[in-house]
Subunit: 272 residues, 6 copies
Amino acid sequence: MEKMHAEILEQIRAAREEDLRAPRGIADRKRVVGLIKEIQVVLLPGHFHYNDLSEEAAFDNLVRDLDEQIGSALCFSGTSPMKAKKLAEEFIQTLPEIMRQINTDIQAIYDGDPAAKSKTEIILCYPGFYAISIYRIAHVLYQLGIPYIPRIMTEYAHEKTGIDINPGATIGDYFCIDHGTGIVIGETAVLGHHVKLYQGVTIGAKSFEKDENGNPVKGGKRHPDIGNHVVIYANATILGGDTVIGDHSVIGGNTWIIDSVPEGMKVYYTNK
Amino acid sequence: MEKMHAEILEQIRAAREEDLRAPRGIADRKRVVGLIKEIQVVLLPGHFHYNDLSEEAAFDNLVRDLDEQIGSALCFSGTSPMKAKKLAEEFIQTLPEIMRQINTDIQAIYDGDPAAKSKTEIILCYPGFYAISIYRIAHVLYQLGIPYIPRIMTEYAHEKTGIDINPGATIGDYFCIDHGTGIVIGETAVLGHHVKLYQGVTIGAKSFEKDENGNPVKGGKRHPDIGNHVVIYANATILGGDTVIGDHSVIGGNTWIIDSVPEGMKVYYTNK
Amino acid sequence: MEKMHAEILEQIRAAREEDLRAPRGIADRKRVVGLIKEIQVVLLPGHFHYNDLSEEAAFDNLVRDLDEQIGSALCFSGTSPMKAKKLAEEFIQTLPEIMRQINTDIQAIYDGDPAAKSKTEIILCYPGFYAISIYRIAHVLYQLGIPYIPRIMTEYAHEKTGIDINPGATIGDYFCIDHGTGIVIGETAVLGHHVKLYQGVTIGAKSFEKDENGNPVKGGKRHPDIGNHVVIYANATILGGDTVIGDHSVIGGNTWIIDSVPEGMKVYYTNK
Amino acid sequence: MEKMHAEILEQIRAAREEDLRAPRGIADRKRVVGLIKEIQVVLLPGHFHYNDLSEEAAFDNLVRDLDEQIGSALCFSGTSPMKAKKLAEEFIQTLPEIMRQINTDIQAIYDGDPAAKSKTEIILCYPGFYAISIYRIAHVLYQLGIPYIPRIMTEYAHEKTGIDINPGATIGDYFCIDHGTGIVIGETAVLGHHVKLYQGVTIGAKSFEKDENGNPVKGGKRHPDIGNHVVIYANATILGGDTVIGDHSVIGGNTWIIDSVPEGMKVYYTNK
Amino acid sequence: MEKMHAEILEQIRAAREEDLRAPRGIADRKRVVGLIKEIQVVLLPGHFHYNDLSEEAAFDNLVRDLDEQIGSALCFSGTSPMKAKKLAEEFIQTLPEIMRQINTDIQAIYDGDPAAKSKTEIILCYPGFYAISIYRIAHVLYQLGIPYIPRIMTEYAHEKTGIDINPGATIGDYFCIDHGTGIVIGETAVLGHHVKLYQGVTIGAKSFEKDENGNPVKGGKRHPDIGNHVVIYANATILGGDTVIGDHSVIGGNTWIIDSVPEGMKVYYTNK
Amino acid sequence: MEKMHAEILEQIRAAREEDLRAPRGIADRKRVVGLIKEIQVVLLPGHFHYNDLSEEAAFDNLVRDLDEQIGSALCFSGTSPMKAKKLAEEFIQTLPEIMRQINTDIQAIYDGDPAAKSKTEIILCYPGFYAISIYRIAHVLYQLGIPYIPRIMTEYAHEKTGIDINPGATIGDYFCIDHGTGIVIGETAVLGHHVKLYQGVTIGAKSFEKDENGNPVKGGKRHPDIGNHVVIYANATILGGDTVIGDHSVIGGNTWIIDSVPEGMKVYYTNK
């Protein structure tokens, strides 16, 4: 019997494609999530807790762990891990700027939700805030060209909140998400300041250029630009790399937008 | 180098807004989730487990922990924690009534889903049941005027299920949710008995009254009333504090409802 | 006071319906999730980790734990646990075939997403892959007639990803899900090879036959058939046991489909 | 290679004696230690903590866990587990008496050690108290005829403190141990009230009656009787079932006593 | 039945002496052990690990935790916790001196044991080193007048090693313990530099002055002085506050010393 | 203030001796303890448990973990880790022989203690068995020339039991330890078959040869030989590399032996 099991295990190995046989040193999801939690303690101590770390201790662990995880990720993607320490330092220097952005996001959510009783409640309870703040962190790592880690971070937020923001997206200050489940924001989307999104909004790609094999071409501008002071209601779908939503416009719920919308316009859906 | 880090930490602190520097005693999300788990063991022992607590031990721990967490939450919101013990007792006295309601919800889900093989399966596997039962608990705490805790509870359910029910919503017996991801039910919504919702349904606010600064006015009736024996199919959106959906009506999938619907009416969406 | 508590506990017990008083031996959600994690280590060691188990040790623990959990589940559903060992063996023998299918799914996601940089990134970060691979496992257990466990597995994936695939659904090779939050695939749905779904797609039931008491009749073909090489964009809703979507067709976003669509057809939604 | 490992595993199994192939249901050391910790919380809440159990919850869990563990132990020793519930109840009824005895032990240690600053310090820091209090619990279980559990308990104390008291020993009130490492008290020893022992004291067996095979005969009075108000200094060795140490006597350090000592006598060792 | 249990719990409470009903804020053994582990990481990073803290993070957590635990301990002993922060700082300033002493202890053990292969082995494996290094830490806290914490620390070392050093004892540099189980060093003992002790050595009190109630008088010089370069072999017992062991003397195993021993003397025990 | 802390940390680093600044890859005590626990499950499944590993899974994890830990230990001691795999295999092949020896030890303890009710009780409760079985494992690793790991293993047993057996000691079959606290057996000791030791027995070195610096010379035969069928009672001390205790002799408690004892002799200590 046990011999039979050994044979099944051999068959599984044979069935597994060669490039799925993981070399050692693969980026470790659990430790990347640890980075998020250390940064949360550094930015908002008292609101977030992780392994009983003090604010200062979280910072010190973060310095070490960023170096390690960035090194692993570079290594695994076939790059030299030499630059890891320098990249970690560059990231750490942006933390005050990330803090500043997050202040604006909290303010935007507080101003935008009649049910919000305090900023503390927003930090503790609002999935929108949770997803945005992790996006802010991941986006900086993405800009630094660090592989794997930014995406693991935003997918962790996606798992917790149902909000799927690609770390490559560019988003201005005072970003507000209400409820949020089902939101998708694509890699090349650009959002201005004071944008407010409701649940189920997609800011996505219309269609992909195909290569000679019929597979989508990797890269290229594929997702819309959203202006400043735009509100997009629940389940609206805005698609295409050429689509531009003008400043101060309002996109109604359940709408389907594949063309640009001029400044100040209100697009509503109606049954009639 | 380390001195440079100390300076960055100082910059982060400076960037953090003053009202985000948490005083001690902030409500602890992990311990509020512990309350949920203790209540689940008390209500449905054998189906739910928590820290190896017996049914009786879960009850006893709950008595202590409710007092502590309600005290913290009152304290943090600037109220005297004196009333915590009394409020905890009042909550505990409602547990038999919560149990009764939950029985009706299980029955409604069992009756409403051809795929449900037993009530145990519903308790163990159905996210709809999970979210409804936590709402039932949080709603009673909301009615008692306890700050923070009810919202932390329903957001925990939201995280686990993608179903976002504000603890302030009023919902009758025999409430059934199928699949559920993406459902949103607002703070001032009122749902009757025997209501059934599918995934992606929003029972939300149409628009917010603004104050002189252009910010939404906090409070006020903002969400619809749903009658008894109403079925609302996937991704329907029903908005507005004046919108009333009459008894025995059926709202089709992907519909967009911003006006009242009379009793017994069927509203369907069509491509044609 | 404490006596009062004992009385409340008695009232809770009285309020609890008789069939909810769990017998010992109820299937344990935590241990079923353990099965998933052991299988993940066996199939993709290095990418997944569980309790520091080596690939071989994960396999050995799985042999023991499948036997135990299947035995429990049979027992709880009133069947003799005698067959547990045999069923566990039958499942283990399908693992190489599951591995083969999962290879095709990874390939389909890699080919279908311009943002995917490597197969490792897909395994580590893509909720679509996570949900599909757990469905592959659960579906085999469903076919073997094992109660409770398949559904607990797919609901675990649902919780983590917002993707709700009933373990009874039949799905061909090269299955690709992008973003995924809010997807629902019903128990009797049949999907061909090379199907690609975006977030919010429902492949569901139109309406249920009612019995004399007005309750839906359990069982029966209730969900659509989807052909090969079909793409279904975000938030499309396809309903009904008679609905057939032909090979090579494309279903646009936010569409509502309750009738069959012929081969090669493109169905788009438009505001106009 | 792996096949070779399977063979080694087979050889290990063959080498293992038949009566060491454990049936299921063997008493679980970890859960017996859990009983100790629950009892400690019940007796001295605030001083001892276990899994965040309140005093009442610890009591409730204890009621359930005693029943389970006694059942297992009876089962494993070939007795019917039917009596488990009754034995558990009998034990629980002795808890107030155990509490009374432990009060006297704390008092004796406080009175006997010039370095003891408070009773709280004794409960938190003194290994002598730790070992005595666990012996008090285990002795009652021993008297009730429960197999395995009493010995697992006193060996747990032995591991933590280096103090080895057989649960069968009979010990009066106001028992004081100072330092304690290396103390051994045998199964049939009888100690009076107000006895004080220092580290390294053995109250042991002189020699064992052998049976026809040269093995010690199991059972029989093999260890000394110690009177009331006796002090025994460090590393004294007192042996034999007929040896009686009279009331109010003092046994000096490093002495070797194999004969009785009359009341009020002082036995000192000298280099000279 | 359950009512009967409530009565038993009441009886236990009644049996518990009043001064054992713990107020909140009692020093927490687990957190004091945490202090030890943080200090070990600060002093010997790489050799000791705790909660994955970096050397710097361990230092930062220590700063916070010392303040908290000293505050608790002062509070519980009826003193104002105001001085906690100042005492914590004073302790932290002694850490370089503690490091220096510990270097000498490691050197002494390395020089004194033919079986020691490296200093790393001593740090990882030698219970003597473990107990001495914790004593070094606890002694400084004892000198600062901090209640409870020093004793909890040395008793933790006692539990792990069987070596019982009172934190009040004064011990010079290059202190070496071999094997160590059963060693006892009293509160008022004074040991010089280059002292080496084997297992089972007691440096204890001869007898206690009694007060009018027959209880030992608290305080006073009760334990011996040991000179420099003294070796004391296994199980030797040296007692009394007036007993002085001169420099460069050797005390043989199993000896019983209650009088002073002059410089350079060798005291051996013999059977003859 | 924080700058002051950074300076203190610098001072600690300066005070730390250079050879105590640990390189990466130091043998990890926790993982070595994991090896012990995996071996215990392989040898006595059902009696020992570790991370819920099945007998087979424990074996498979052991194969991997031995390789890793031996590699680390070789590396850290400056040897090439190349041989790790081969050494791990050699160790694994001795497991059936270790099992055979352990059978004899259990038998010896069972035969030697009138209080032992079953072999299961011995495995679960007897510190003597615990220490002997870990020594059996560590001794084989010692013989294979593996650095650090054997000593970490026996010191783990020492911590748990107070029994300190150097892994280099040679010990025959049917080895019995009763109570055991305080036992010391030196690196070059040789014990025959059917030896029985009581608590506090030292089989140690008399004195060490010094080198020109006055430090003990490393290596050399320093500890006694004990024949077959020898009983050594509590607290006996037997010292010296030339000391030979003949077969079938009995050494009384508290004796001090520095010369050889002929076959069949009984050495007793007496007060008179």
